[in-house]
Symmetry: C2
Subunit: 129 residues, 2 copies
DNA sequence: TATTGTTATACTCTATAACTATA
DNA sequence: TATAGTTATAGAGTATAACAATA
């Protein structure tokens, strides 16, 4: 059931991401960087559960489109300082808004008191152990 | 959250399936055939949301291990009649038992009244539209 | 020598197309 | 000719290993 629901959500999000010309990984990057800038690409990769090598083309694209900054740290020129540009922040907000609206529409089929309980249990299960 | 929970469940199930030397697709096949035998491989594939071509090595293996039968229909020798053997049924029951036990252990962290509600909402969300 | 990022390579999963056999 | 199943091939997505730059 969880698998089916997850696939349903992904199917629901895909056209939204496509409309903003952004991949799921790119969206994950924007979300992570909105929470806080990162000092290394490896830290970003582990934060979103991705491999560092498969993040590189994603970062290349985001940088080329002016959605993130990616500069060598003057103190240690091996590492790349990553942060969101204002354009990146705006795009993230737009995508997040669309996704939340779609989620709300789906959750509208559930009674409000069940809805809150459902989300709380889901969160609790994710925090077990 | 749903994605994270789904990945967690998959990670939980993987060692169980591996212990029984069975893949996730093979388990899906056994489950579908336990519910009812199938008249064609294509019907089985669509029942479990798989492509018919990627089912073939799975069926080859299950047949070789004596877990399913797979015989040409005498009435139309193009189609293969599929059903579970008793060994297949036993293996499915064993795997399902182990998976259910692991799920119960996880759900034990949730209050019993929340648990039923959670599963009901999950099912309802899957039935929307 | 160790670490960050990058590139090249290989591997897994999946889908598409071509083929065989039956009808 | 049309359909069920099979095989061969190609395409994503991902991970592993080798490499370059910097410390």
């Amino acid at each position: 059931m969880v698998g089916r629901f997850g696939r349903r959500l992904i199917a629901m999000e895909e056209p939204i991401l496509a409309a903003h010309e952004i991949s799921m990984w790119a969206y994950a990057v924007l979300t992570a960087l909105r929470d806080r800038p990162m000092r290394t690409q490896a830290a970003l990769a582990s934060a979103i559960g991705a491999d560092k090598t498969r993040l590189i083309p994603v970062l290349d694209d985001l940088q080329r489109r002016g959605l993130i900054t990616r500069e060598p740290d003057p103190a240690d020129r091996r590492v790349r300082l990553l942060s969101l540009t204002s354009a990146g922040g705006k795009l993230h907000a737009a995508v997040q808004g669309d996704i939340r609206a779609a989620e709300e529409a789906l959750l509208a089929h559930v009674a409000p008191e069940d809805r809150a309980r459902f989300l709380a249990v889901l969160q609790a299960l994710n925090e077990v152990r």
